[in-house]
Symmetry: C2
Amino acid sequence: MPFRLFQNYIFRNIMANDRFSPDAVRQLTAAIAVRAGVKKKDAAILADALVDADLHGTSTHGISRLNIYIRRIQKGLIDPKAKLAVERGRGAAMAMDAGNGLGQVQAVKALEKLAKKAKRQGVAAATIRNSQHFGALSYYCNLAAKQDLILFATTSCEPAMSPEGACQAFFGTNPIAASFPTGKGWSVKIDLATSIVARGNIIAAQKKGQPIPLGWALTPEGEPTTDAAAALAGTVLTMAGHKGYALALMVEIFSSVLSGSAVGPAIGSMYKNMDRKQDVGHFFFLLDIAAFMDVAEFKRRLDKAIDDIKGCRKRAGVSEVLVPGERSHQKAQQNLAQGIAIDEATQKELKTLCEELRVKYTLTPNA
Amino acid sequence: MPFRLFQNYIFRNIMANDRFSPDAVRQLTAAIAVRAGVKKKDAAILADALVDADLHGTSTHGISRLNIYIRRIQKGLIDPKAKLAVERGRGAAMAMDAGNGLGQVQAVKALEKLAKKAKRQGVAAATIRNSQHFGALSYYCNLAAKQDLILFATTSCEPAMSPEGACQAFFGTNPIAASFPTGKGWSVKIDLATSIVARGNIIAAQKKGQPIPLGWALTPEGEPTTDAAAALAGTVLTMAGHKGYALALMVEIFSSVLSGSAVGPAIGSMYKNMDRKQDVGHFFFLLDIAAFMDVAEFKRRLDKAIDDIKGCRKRAGVSEVLVPGERSHQKAQQNLAQGIAIDEATQKELKTLCEELRVKYTLTPNA
């Protein structure tokens, strides 16, 4: 049952959708969260993070996740009023406990604390334990970039991926992200899972009855497979084999081992384990550009690098060399104008949440 | 001519070799460097870093590089007496200038300065500009791990790799490394180029007249190729396509853009450009484990993660799941006992250097 829930969730993201005003979605999201017990200020953070993901074209980490967060709050698996505690600290370092609160809310609060330290010390780093799925890492990176800070961020996630040579899910898709301010009105944005492909793509292939490319996943017995169903019962492969394995391990150590969170298979699944908390860990490392170089010079240098990259000779059939962050910025501009796309299943969930929590459903699709 | 030099250098590493006492090689290396103008203490650092690479099975970054370093010193392209200067600093941040000195020497000195800061502040980070090829990143990471510090390190390198969509060498193979102390007598060691394969493998295939796998490289026109010669004239591909591209860009920004070093194609080639300095940049980020968690607890937690990974169900034909750092530790133990392998071409270079610099050649192969 929980797994079907997860499948339905992924499938909805590949369907055609209505579009809605980002402001209206933000307001409704915050209203729902408040009725579920989240403080007003915290609900605004959650709403902004979710809508930002939808704006940037990462709807897998957007408003479609609200329902599961609320359900987990209702089951006592997320504390909507959790405090963020600094458990240990020295100079530019902080070890924090998210108190099993909402991932987005605690991450933004951690970032605020850390930004003050980084502005004073030039750099600062924090581990955050006892947290949850916290959406798109690039949200936090972009918040930092707006303050001329560079954030390098990682998070552990529920198990999905096997170490090279093994065929048991140990690691999550363990992403790495960083964002760098430019003079171009958008930030260079690195944001990638260390898996070869998102598990959602395999679920989508299964729904359509299509095979998956060899090299994406293994059966539970560890055999390479093109069968999506066998792949879903097995594990996703790391990107670039042993290199992705090494990076996934690095992410796991920074985010989970060093933070004191659950490690590997001990991390709870958001959809499958409706009986225990996730205990995810995050890692934030923040640099104040001005401590290393004048910000204007940094931006001038990065802008030149971007221009040089875009000016490289192109491969056949390629019309433009894109720089990471460029496309998602363009998408955000489009979505700001057109509204964000929300699929039917998510709309239905929002309506049900509104009914249950006695919140007025205020969304009307853009014409 | 310089390119042939480079080809010869790569080819030698795939031949059968004599073995020598690491101590004897260290002493001879230091003696040669001193006669080339390097200070005694600095020569010892260089010798230790090179021999350490050979010990760990990374002979591409070991003693085989001594000749080119000395030749570049002789041509005035490396300053053997360079001072390391802190140009800007605040709290836990330092922007350093390596003064065009030997990469290994300046990196070790930078790490020493940074370690003091990290012990005080919990974390510390440094950019290092105006440097060279500095060998294996994992050497610095392992030095840190021995002090219960975690080092995350990146470096830019001479151009070899094209951005996704382009077919011009912009990035170096831009590696990422980190090392984490355990209770097992060896450190977890992440050390990977963001390219799909080392350029040396393509050169080796060309020498043997063998094709290379599709997906390793592009021709200068940007066409995928299995022809090693066409690949060598073109560019190596990033690991995992756009993901490796994004990581290579992150490495370039941390190491070169933020440090003030040359960026992308402006970086000099060690073998091809015997008329200008390299101007490579490095980035070091150091964490004191004790600022986040008791060191003993961290090691206990990491040891358990290692045991759990190694205990995972194995894929068919796999006898053991290895953890990054495990194999190179085993290799180092073997090489400590058996001696390090040095190929004939490198032995010949060492003899020539000894003759020219009037150093007694003291190496005799182990029986």
